[in-house]
């Protein structure tokens, strides 16, 4: 928020930042019109669906129904529904339970990887991020087939000891699984804070007589605390928005969270209950928006800490010793086994067998029939093609859009930049399911958009908004690395701001754009919730197909689709690493 005051007499006193002032270029020739138009269009794309949700929540029926009138009936219904409060309570328990597991583990992992001499560091750095890139619907399905009531491992365990000592179809099971799969989100932020911590601060403590444990406790931990708090709040947010895990693991036993509550409302009385869904979405927004806003402040504080840094690298590492190595690698190995090998392994086996159970030798059941069946059903074939098109081509176009938005906000300190800052917060506060639903409504509601609804364009726009905050942050992070003098020297040489962007800024950030494309591609590949409502005949995507297939119980097909999704994501990840994407930002 850098609101520049034009009138010096009205200006607030801000002496402290005298030397970090943003250059205030002459208003003429500073692409003001471009910035306003781009940010305005973005505001339209974000505010229209959100506005429609809010409008719908105050109607007594679906907005297209002639009988719909303004009223609070929907709120009255939801707020008197016992199931709603149950879902709300479950969601809160789920979110905080997940944080209680993910934060300590993620922090420990970050410490082990950045601050100790643990072996296989380079490999681990990539491996620990893997759960983050797999969609939670795939993960949840993977757990079902491996450790569900009739999962491979459960059956093996029953053979061995007579009972299955776990039940993943419970709130505890959901929390453990979600907690373990969100460890990377914590690791990412905490490890990058630990890495950017100047080593001289720790060295100063060591030369003052502290041993490395004392240094970790008294210097490192307090310094990275903002990032831990940030990661925790991010995970609370993700917990409130989660959909795949409760849908797969909670639904069979009637355990509902807010998102699955919305999903179940879809066809409550045989007619669309948009107004009720809208009310729950509004409630969700009221919970998550403050969280997002708080995170934004936290992040700024965290940056302030990091900005103090001198040289970041060359950190003296803690020697683990032989036993320490074994224990540390054991902990990480166990976690990786549970959160990567179990689900992915389960899916891989399940995708190639048709039947299994007690006394069935899986080797006898090996078959490619599940994949053969995929190619026979037109909607599934389209789903795979659409997913690839949306992520590869759509991802590239989305990076282009994020670049245009990023440039509109680049070295911009006016009111429009504040608007941009706040617009980006909104999609983060809404789960993909709700954004998809809202866009579905937009495409029904706005007459000239209606013809576009059954095309991939509707999904693409929703995806762009879902990926907006992540994608824009990637792009802004890349753009900000261009030294301001490089742009200023182009301007003084005679280039307009547009020429400067074209000839200097974009060529310099090009490698970053490729990396961003690969990461956005993965985000679009794994997306499943956004398409749940938007998807129609001709616009199927793998993730949303899995959601709708769940109700039919076509496990063979889901397994094959899930494996394809994992393979595609793996390819995307390999490409991202190859292009040098900065996953660690």
């Amino acid at each position: 928020m850098n609101v520049q005051t034009q009138n010096p007499a009205l200006a607030a006193v801000g002496v402290a930042h005298a030397h970090h002032y943003p250059a205030k270029m002459p208003v003429v020739g500073n692409a003001r019109l471009y910035r306003i138009v781009v940010i305005g269009l973005l505001a339209l794309a974000v505010l229209t669906p959100v506005g429609l949700i809010i409008y719908q929540s105050f109607l007594t029926g679906p907005f297209f129904s002639p009988r719909a009138a303004l009223g609070l009936d929907a709120y009255a219904y939801v707020f008197t529904d016992r199931n709603f409060y149950k879902a709300l309570g479950t969601t809160a328990v789920f979110a905080f339970g997940m944080v209680a597991i993910a934060v300590p583990l993620g922090g420990l992992l970050a410490f082990l990887i950045t601050r100790t001499d643990i072996r296989y560091k380079r490999l681990l750095e990539i491996l620990v991020l893997v759960p983050m890139f797999i969609s939670s619907i795939v993960l949840a399905f993977g757990y079902t087939v491996s450790v569900g009531p009739t999962g491979f491992l459960s059956l093996a365990m029953r053979d061995l000891i007579g009972i299955v000592p776990w039940n993943i179809y419970s709130l505890t099971g959901m929390i453990v699984i979600a907690g373990l799969s969100h460890v990377p989100h914590v690791h990412l932020y905490v490890s990058s804070a630990m890495r950017s911590l100047p080593s001289d601060l720790e060295e100063a403590a060591r030369t003052s007589g502290a041993n490395i444990w004392q240094v970790s406790r008294d210097v490192t931990l307090p310094m990275v605390l903002p990032s831990i708090v940030f990661a925790a709040s991010l995970n609370v947010l993700l917990g409130f928005e989660t959909f795949g895990i409760p849908l797969v693991l909670g639904d069979p036993n009637g355990i509902m969270v807010l998102t699955t509550y919305i999903y179940k409302l879809t066809t409550l009385f045989g007619t669309p209950t948009y107004q009720l869904m809208a009310v729950v979405a509004v409630v969700l927004l009221l919970i998550t928006l403050p969280l997002v806003w708080m995170q934004r402040r936290l992040l700024r504080n965290a940056r302030r800490y990091a900005a103090l840094g001198g040289k970041g690298s060359r950190v003296a590492t803690l020697k683990l010793g032989r036993n320490g190595q074994l224990v540390a690698l054991g902990v990480i190995g166990l976690w990786l086994f549970v959160s990567v090998v179990l689900p992915i392994g389960g899916i891989t086996v399940r995708a190639f067998v048709d039947a299994w159970g007690e006394g069935v030798n899986l080797l006898d059941q090996l078959t490619l029939a599940n994949f053969a069946r995929l190619t026979e059903v037109p909607s599934l074939v389209r789903g795979m093609i659409n997913t690839v098109i949306l992520s590869v081509v759509g991802g590239a176009v989305a990076v282009g859009i994020y670049l245009l938005v990023g440039l509109a906000g680049h070295r911009n300190h006016g009111l429009s930049n504040t608007v941009l800052d706040y617009i980006v917060l909104l999609p983060r506060a809404l789960p993909g399911l709700v954004i998809g639903l809202a866009f579905f409504w937009v495409f029904l509601f706005v007459p000239f958009l209606t013809p576009l609804r059954p095309t991939l364009f509707s999904l693409f726009i929703a995806y762009v908004v879902v990926g907006l905050s992540y994608g824009l942050r990637l792009l802004q992070g890349t753009l900000i690395q261009v030294a301001p003098e490089l742009e200023e020297s182009a301007r003084t040489t005679g280039a307009t701001i547009g020429r400067t962007w074209r000839d200097i800024v974009i060529p310099i950030v090009r490698p970053g754009l490729a990396g961003a494309w690969a990461l956005i591609m993965i985000i679009f590949l794994r997306e499943y919730a956004t398409g749940v409502y938007l998807m129609g005949a001709g616009t199927e995507v793998i993730g949303s197909l899995m959601v709708s297939l769940l109700t039919t119980g076509a496990m063979n097909t889901i397994a094959a689709l899930a494996l394809i999704s994992i393979v595609l994501t793996g390819a995307g990840l390999a490409l991202a690493l190859r292009l040098g994407a900065r996953i660690h930002d």
Binding site: T5, A11, V13, L486, T493
Partner: protein, 357 residues
Amino acid sequence: MTELVVNNVQKWLGGLQILKGASFTAERGSIVALLGASGSGKTTLLRCVAGLEQPEIGRIVIGDKTVLDGERKIALPPEQRNIGLVFQSYALWPHRTVRENVGYGLKLRGVAPAEIGRRVQAILERLGLGHLADRYPSQLSGGQQQRVAICRALVYEPRVLLLDEPLSNLDAKLREEARYWIRKLILDLEICAILVTHDQSEALAAADNILLLQDGRIVQQGTPQEIYSNPNSFYSADFLGANNIIKGRVQTLDGAKATIGGEGWSLPGVVRDAAGVSGNSDATAVIRVEQISVSDKAMEGGFEMDLDDSIYLGDRWEYRLHRGGLIAKANGALQIAPGKVWARIPSDAVWVFPAQK
């Protein structure tokens, strides 16, 4: 011919006024140095001329074009000002070769490719960079990068060349060479140049005119000789040269002549800034180190002092002197043993200013 007119430029940042009405002009074929401590506003002033910052008040004319006029609400962006700016960090575009860096300004001005090639090669040859045209900036040394940056800013013949601390990233030996050839180049090409620096020797050696800035104001301007030998304020006197700063009390005052003294000492001097200097008021005197000559033999009119130590500095000796509360440094060619010495301090070299906080 006047190429640049800066008139009453004022700029605020938040509630802080960082330029408080700077005015100056610059001529073709001469170099104006903006000299001042960090935070004095010199770089901001340069950036205002370049159009990289927008002052709230003031008027700037480059050549025959008004590029800024606070009253008429004119503020042209940098690209319409026909200037060349050499950045402290050189700011060469890393993805372009030397040839492409230098030729960019000509390309933007729609010059034919053949002509661009000819003019780029000509200026690169002139600065001894002809063989480096196809290199990328990262493959050049600091000195070479700096010359490329100057070529890039000069090749399209801007009306005004702006240099922002162009020498500060060079090592000491290169810097002395660079300030010589940069001056020569500018005079040969007969362009108007503005040089921002915090280094007094750079300003003295390279500029025809020095503007001394303090706290967003131009406190003195003149030729290097005038600025150095005729300071009009304590700040000017203190900023340039190597100085002895002496606190004392005015003992006698007769027009511009004053005697300043303290416990056990008294020196005749001249008042440089009369405001705040009166009979019996506290005062501060500035004596350039090179104005004091020291001998271990009694000399006529010599000022008796105690020598605490002689420090060897390679090309000279530095003497640490005191007399009562008066502490001073002086230089000489010989080592002198500690003890009683005689110092010659000309009275017109003892500059008396109002007491400084």
